[in-house]
């Protein structure tokens, strides 16, 4: 591992990775990484509208891991969820990539939710967002608007896939672009 760390850095640089985190994620960690991301982009004098968008996608995708990762540890003070979150810049696009373990039976509903969004243009996404926001119920798990919010902000359709881990679980990856 000691010897491969430089390769890891080189690979990160090659992929255009600005920030990557793997491990158990909490709301507190999200806040700190988010601030770091914002400061870095401000230093690079990136347009503030773009910074707000990238930050928004980072928050939605990280909170998705926090809520829905199948690998969680919790106690009375709260819970931590295992996952990967990466922000990078490649081929003239920023991207936000996240991944976490899910139970196999989540594949079908997730595919359905994300596929609907693929067929919609920006106006249709706006109407769908408003419709779902009106219909939905606010719960401790949010309002189910995260994916629609991401699809509206992403400059390319959301990419996602599932890779089998074992009989019961898969790894869910999702990538958005700015």
């Amino acid at each position: 591992m000691l010897d491969s760390l430089l390769d890891f850095k080189k690979e990160c640089d090659k992929q255009g990775i600005l920030i990557s985190f793997y491990g158990f994620i909490s709301q507190e960690l999200l806040v700190e990484v988010g601030h770091n991301l914002k400061s870095r982009m401000e230093l690079e004098r990136i347009d503030s509208t773009k910074i707000t968008k990238i930050f928004a996608m980072f928050v939605e995708q990280t909170q998705n891991i926090v809520r829905y990762s199948a690998e969680k540890v919790s106690d009375v003070n709260g819970s931590l969820s295992n996952g990967i979150i990466i922000i990078g810049y490649k081929d003239e696009h920023y991207f936000v990539l996240c991944g976490n373990k899910i139970k196999k039976n989540s594949i079908e509903p997730l595919t359905k939710k994300l596929s609907i969004l693929h067929s919609m243009d920006k106006n249709e996404l706006k109407s769908y967002y408003k419709e779902q926001r009106k219909k939905g119920q606010l719960t401790t798990d949010g309002a189910g608007l995260g994916f629609i919010e991401l699809a509206r902000k992403s400059t390319k359709p959301i990419d996602f896939n599932f890779q089998a881990i074992d009989e019961q679980s898969s790894f869910f990856s999702l990538k958005t672009y700015i």
């Binding site: 709301q27 806040v31 601030h35 503030s48 509208t49 707000t52 968008k53 930050f55 928004a56 928050v59 939605e60 909170q63 926090v66 809520r67 706006k126 408003k130 926001r133 009106k134 939905g136 606010l138 719960t139 401790t140 949010g142 309002a143 608007l145 995260g146 629609i148 919010e149």
Partner: protein, 129 residues
């Protein structure tokens, strides 16, 4: 009703109520993991307050730089509640959605709420320099 204030945290906005002017202000960023935990006390207070409002005008100034999707749902629930009070109980309520001209997203979100409301006065207010 007394004046009160809750301070902002890293991911929740400052909220204050001024009993002299009947202004409720919401200012900052909103992206808590669990929005209901944050908003429940506010909604409970609002229900009591609106019952005692009478003929007075209640003004809500919202100045949010960024909010996540579950906060957006919470805001819609808030505006729906206010719209009901205007519609069913003839309450005088005004919402001012305050945004920085540089913040396109905040302006767009304000416009989208405005499109969805029917009788609640909802003003888009560009922040003074």
């Amino acid at each position: 009703m007394d004046s009160w204030k809750t301070v902002a945290t890293k991911y929740t906005p400052e909220i204050y109520f001024d009993a002299n002017t009947n202004i409720l202000g919401v200012k900052g960023e909103s992206y808590p993991e669990n929005i209901t935990e944050f908003s429940s006390p506010l909604f409970s207070w609002l229900e009591n307050y609106l019952e005692s409002l009478g003929e007075k005008t209640f003004t809500i100034n919202i100045e949010l730089i960024y909010f996540n999707s579950s906060s957006s749902k919470m805001l819609l629930d808030l505006f729906d509640l206010l719209e009901e009070e205007v519609n069913d109980n003839d309450k005088n309520i005004v919402v001012n959605w305050i945004f920085d001209i540089e913040n396109d997203a905040a302006q767009e979100y304000g416009e989208e709420f405005q499109e969805d409301l029917e009788i609640l006065p909802f003003n888009l207010v560009e922040k003074a320099e």
